[in-house]
């Protein structure tokens, strides 16, 4: 194991991007406010001065072009990191993502490759109202041809950026807007990668399996602490990648605990919980001791008002409650 350093997710992302830009001169960043401003979430702070405007490119407000030109540049041999300021604006780029980034390799019989990284940030809970509070990761995970990862921890943030940039496929790295200050140990290894489509157990336990990703992992960790005080041992699986989806760890865990709660910040209908539950039915039905529960956002547009927005979102308390219902 390499030595590690404690840093925030913001620092981890920043360091990974910086190292990749030094490693490979075809790597460049483009997006809104990535340069002079220093990145809306300060991930690319200082990059403009360090790398210059050729490699740190402020764009007009033009999401279609930020991704679409990224696809083209990637096809032409560059390794762009297209940044969408928030995932809410990824809806404007959906066509470029779905119809081009994800399709071009297959549609032209493998002639072109699209080594594009799309960085964006997800999540609600910041009183930004209905249009700016989405957690629509599943939409992007729907389409073959695109990889989707969601770092919950600093080491993953670091390794996923590197993996995305070095991978020859389009990869969406979906960060969480409230996790940038979250700290964790990051390996001091410039070639630290996160294997594509590999989930991991972030806490072991024997009584119930909690499956989540992104911020949900932190709700699960908090819930597990609360449950532990009552003698309930929760095992937590961080999916890390929504596509490709690794079923092995949560199926294995479920075969041990026989009970499961799936936790996600997104909406319930057709969500990650629905997918995971179906996979369990297909692969481990005989090990099921209780119906699987889902903890999700309420099935409503998120409001501005603080209290009710919080009520509409998942929380550690809601996870604890769901666990008690499956025990």
């Amino acid at each position: 194991m390499a030595e590690t350093k404690r840093m925030t997710i913001r620092e981890a992302l920043s360091q990974a991007l910086r190292e990749e830009m030094y490693r490979d001169e075809t790597v460049f960043i483009m997006g809104e406010e990535v340069g002079v401003w220093g990145g809306t979430y300060a991930v690319t702070r200082g990059f403009y001065d360090e790398f210059g405007e050729k490699r740190v490119r402020d764009t007009p407000i033009a999401e279609m072009a930020i991704v679409g030109a990224g696809v083209g540049a990637a096809m032409a041999g560059l390794r762009p990191v297209s940044e969408l300021m928030t995932i809410n604006f990824a809806f404007l780029a959906l066509d470029a993502i779905v119809n081009h980034a994800a399709k071009i390799h297959s549609m032209f019989g493998g002639q072109f490759k699209v080594p594009l990284t799309i960085r964006t940030t997800t999540g609600g809970g910041r009183q930004l109202g209905a249009t700016h509070s989405h957690s629509p990761e599943i939409i992007f995970a729907h389409f073959p041809g695109l990889y989707v990862c969601c770092p919950a921890m600093a080491d993953d943030a670091y390794g996923m950026i590197k993996t995305a940039i070095r991978n020859d496929n389009p990869v969406m790295v979906i960060e969480h807007s409230t996790l940038y200050q979250t700290r964790g140990e990051v390996p001091l290894d410039q070639d630290y990668l996160v294997p594509v489509g590999e989930s991991r157990i972030v806490r072991e336990g024997k009584d119930v399996t909690l499956v989540s990703f992104s911020k949900g992992v932190h709700w699960c960790l908090e819930a597990a602490d609360i449950l532990a005080k009552e003698g309930i041992e929760a095992e937590i699986v961080d999916l890390r990648w929504l596509r490709p989806l690794d079923t092995s760890k949560f199926i294995e865990s479920f075969k041990k605990t026989n009970r499961m709660v799936v936790v996600e910040e997104g909406l319930p209908q057709f969500g990650v919980g629905a997918e995971i539950t179906a996979r369990v039915m297909e692969e481990a039905f005989d090990w099921m001791d209780a119906p699987i529960k889902r903890v999700t956002a309420e099935d409503v547009p998120l409001p501005y008002s603080r209290e009710i927005e919080q009520m509409a979102l998942p929380s550690a308390e809601k996870v604890v409650k769901a666990v008690k219902e499956v025990l």
């Binding site: 002079v36 401003w37 220093g38 007009p60 109202g129 209905a130 700016h132 501005y304 008002s305």
Partner: protein, 321 residues
């Protein structure tokens, strides 16, 4: 130049001051944690909003982006209900669900502030379509930032409005930056009105958006043209004196630049104009300042005393019953 009555001038002055006080108070409430989310202040741009909104008729319609407080106030929305929305209360214009970026009032033909850059442009075209479809005599004033003129929504909406001769005044509030990106770093043409040529649309003026009368006159003429003939693209040249939103590090412009513009305060300039035309005295203007400050304090009190929305309200208004 239009011949303004004393009362009209003082009304406009009052609106500008009311907006300024509203914004300053919102900044405080944000620091106190009573307003959350994003807060995009209109300080510096008051003359544009007041001039433009005053220039159109009640039966005309308005759309704008998320920097919407000034437009809502100029349109005469209830200041208490606006402040209540800022605080996320049920008595707010959008029942506490919209917040700063989503103020609206159907009865004022103010169709809202919209937080997705450019997203409201096609909606404005759609409302304007009704005028042609039903042969009604109204127009739509659609405000947007300079940055919004670079997104796909802009191209599609302007083209459509030109093809269908829709009665829209596309008014670009050019405050010289979209967040931290200066116009020339984001737009192939710096003179944004020139984009009208691409659509065969009437190229309107670039008016002085720091001058409420100049803005008023330019928008009035554009709206009359739009109602009769079809769309106009015009600009108001303005400047925001404060950050894009709260917590903007403002690395993209110098303090000097901001100070220079701030010295040209549109409210101070307009006050001086009123006095020079002998349409108001220092005492009268001071009285209006006082009145605005009191109205804002009353609005804050109203908002603070209003109830929060309940959990049940989350499920209300998701669909039409």
């Amino acid at each position: 130049m239009a011949d303004f009555k004393k009362a009209d001038l003082l009304d406009m002055y009052y609106d500008m001051v009311l907006i300024r006080r509203f914004e300053e108070r919102c900044a405080q409430l944000y620091q106190e944690g009573k307003i959350g989310g994003f807060l995009h202040l209109y300080i510096g741009q008051e003359a544009t909003g007041v001039g433009a909104v005053r220039a159109i008729r009640k039966e005309d319609h308005i759309f704008t982006a998320y920097r919407d407080h000034g437009i809502a106030i100029a349109r005469g929305l209830d200041i208490n209900a606006l402040m209540a929305e800022m605080l996320g209360k049920v008595t707010g214009v959008s029942k506490g669900k919209g917040g700063s970026m989503h103020l609206a009032s159907r009865e004022h033909n103010f169709w809202g502030g919209y937080a997705i850059v450019g997203g409201h442009l096609p909606l404005a075209a759609g409302v304007a379509l009704r005028a042609r479809y039903m042969e009604e005599d109204f127009g739509v004033l659609c405000l947007m930032g300079d940055g919004a003129t670079n997104i796909g929504y802009f191209h599609e909406s302007l083209d459509l409005s030109a093809v269908w001769d829709l009665p829209v005044v596309w008014l670009v509030e050019n405050n010289q930056y979209g967040m931290g990106t200066a116009v020339k770093r984001a737009s192939g043409v710096e003179e944004i009105v020139k984009k009208a040529q691409a659509y065969g649309m009437k190229e309107g003026p670039r008016c002085d958006g720091m001058d409420v009368i100049a803005t008023y006159e330019a928008v009035k003429e554009a709206m009359e043209y739009a109602r009769k003939n079809g769309p106009v693209l015009m600009e108001a040249l303005t400047y925001r004196f404060v950050g894009h939103s709260m917590g903007d590090p403002e690395r993209y412009r110098t303090k000097d630049e901001v100070r220079q513009y701030s010295e040209e305060d549109p409210i101070g300039k307009f006050g001086a104009y009123i006095k020079s035309k002998k349409k108001g005295t220092d005492a009268e203007l001071a009285e209006l300042d006082q009145k605005a400050a009191e109205a804002i304090e009353a609005a804050v009190q109203f908002a603070e005393e209003s109830p929060d929305p309940t959990f049940e309200s989350l499920f209300e208004d998701v669909y039409v019953d």
